[in-house]
Symmetry: C2
Subunit: 225 residues, 2 copies
């Protein structure tokens, strides 16, 4: 469909020497640049960005320098320009299709969330195994049965999926997604998936964050468990 396909290399082999941890910070920078754009600023500096994000200016400069020279000495970075460059690097200067499985509480909240589109993503399909959920309309999309996953994933050339099913079902559903062509999964189920090497999984589990926090607190809880 859209093809200035930049020579694609098998994603495992070509890990540009750029560290993954650096890639992980780019979306944060991008998010902050969009905020500054909304505020109408034209330029910023590594110092200002660092202050906003609570990290050092040197780290920001070094991270960006992996990809080119985007700033001007004495001035800083042009915000719309840097924004566009980061979008290109992360390949979000376009909209990616995303499929989701699990039309429960969380899945429906995500499906009706309107904050994806302007950051490069659109949920194009939602699947569930419960017969009573099939056919439900959520915004522009309709809940479909699992059998449709292979069909839809192939038709849309979708590579990214969200998993919002109970933990007990997550492993099996992920296998189905991967068979159908998905290679990137965002998993909300509180479980670590076992997947082939060429599939990337990231996790969101609020309890992990809570438990990290309580380590540093002094005890003051409601009741013993």
């Amino acid at each position: 469909m859209n093809e200035p396909a930049p020579q694609v290399e098998p994603q495992d082999s070509v890990r540009n020497d750029i560290p993954d941890i650096v890639i992980g910070r780019l979306p944060i920078y991008l998010r902050t640049l969009k905020l500054l754009m909304e505020r109408g600023s034209e330029v910023t500096s590594s110092q200002e960005l660092g202050d906003l994000l609570g990290i050092s200016s040197a780290q920001i400069r070094k991270d960006l320098s992996h990809f080119g020279e985007f700033g001007k000495q004495g001035t800083g970075y042009n915000i719309p320009f840097l924004n566009k460059q980061l979008e290109k690097i992360l390949k979000v200067d376009c909209v990616w299709p995303v499929v989701m499985v699990g039309a429960g509480n969380l899945g429906t909240a995500l499906a009706s969330y309107n904050g994806f589109e302007n950051r490069g993503f659109r949920i194009v399909a939602l699947f569930d195994s419960a017969p009573e959920k099939i056919g439900q309309q959520l915004g522009a999309i309709t809940v479909q049965p699992l059998e449709e996953i292979p069909v839809v994933v192939r038709r849309t050339h979708c590579q990214v999926a969200v998993l919002a099913v109970p933990a007990a079902a997550a492993q099996a559903v992920s296998a189905l997604l991967i068979e159908s062509g998905i290679n990137s999964i965002l998993c909300y189920a509180p479980i670590t998936l076992s997947v082939p090497e060429n599939v990337r999984v990231e996790y969101i589990d609020p309890v992990i964050h809570f438990q990290h926090m309580t380590y540093y607190l002094r005890k003051g809880c409601i009741e013993d468990a």
Copy 2:
């Protein structure tokens, strides 16, 4: 303003020399141990845990060794015992009260989520600024106006909050929470908060994960933005 509230030790001072990154992995270990317990296993090894989590056995052993000697050579770790030890270390051998602000799509999904309690947390209150949301019933809790935040936080001695309001409101709401005695915030709004040093903020933003993933993908999106 906030006085007899359970005050955190300034987390800088009490930083047992244990690295924060180690603490961050403990909840993952704990989650996996609970899974193994459900499966009825009695013992496990750093090897098995590492395989389940995709990390090295040595790292698991070293992480645990910061807190004591929980295993037995030749045998491994007793699962219920290690589970209990980790719960103690993370202080989740009890239930922590959590307040939440924002009763929108996401907030209501979280409020009705039943996966918090058995991992150490309970959402005890939900606040919103919209008059039409006030009084809504969600499971056991009722949506309250923002004015109640200081009262409720102090009464419950709650230290942990979830922020599920629009990005534009997040900074102001966080200030109100902190004034009221909150010192740990899980922020779902796609924005970096500015908070005092003794307050810990963690973030959940699915788009950050998506954008991290697309860096490694070959382009195949729907349309240019």
